[in-house]
Symmetry: C2
Subunit: 118 residues, 2 copies
């Protein structure tokens, strides 16, 4: 039976800690996509606004105060979703965004591993 | 008295865990620079080659097998240095690269914090 919902990103399952062995080309593609999504200051601020919001989720109405237009906010939120870093759900008028914990834990583990090597 | 050597990056001192409070514009600039440096598949592979090499350091001669030309490897290593992720030292004929542990620990902590929120 096919699953109804595929996760948008497979980084959680993809990659060993960076100090364990060199990443393959395929693993690097997958992990680099997520790092790239956080590699923009506005996206990173939006991401931290969601992550630090009460309950780990935020409405678009809560996270628009980053000095860019609403369409630009929407564009960046879409990029974060495409990278698998946020999920979203419409409830009534608003769309709510959540941090994807498994993906972040995997990215944190990638880096924490590398930090221990030295 | 001024310090003789400035660290090339200030991310280690810059940023709280992403779930603690929203990043300021300045904090986001600093942290995004490092994520961006890892947001390219070839750079990420080179970085993992250094991080996973015996002793946590590698000679350029050890890390050229990623399917791109030597000038491209040099270009990416320079970018990783500029982002504060690697340091380098010339010893005899070769330049050796090391992972910067404080910066990686700081990045890992940023993400590990965010992963705990949900």
């Amino acid at each position: 039976m096919l699953p109804l919902l595929e996760p948008e990103s497979d980084v959680a399952a993809c990659c060993p800690p960076l100090d364990e062995r060199p990443l393959s080309a395929r693993e690097a593609e997958s992990a680099a996509r997520m790092f790239k999504a956080l590699g923009d200051p506005v996206r990173l601020r939006l991401f931290s606004l969601v992550a630090s919001h009460a309950g780990g989720e935020a409405c678009v109405c809560d996270i628009s105060d980053v000095g860019v237009s609403q369409p630009t906010v929407s564009h960046h939120l879409k990029k974060l979703k495409e990278a698998g870093l946020l999920s979203s759900e419409r409830r009534g008028t608003w769309v709510y965004y959540r941090v994807e914990p498994s993906v972040l834990a995997a990215m944190g583990a990638l880096l924490a591993g590398a930090a221990k090597t030295v």
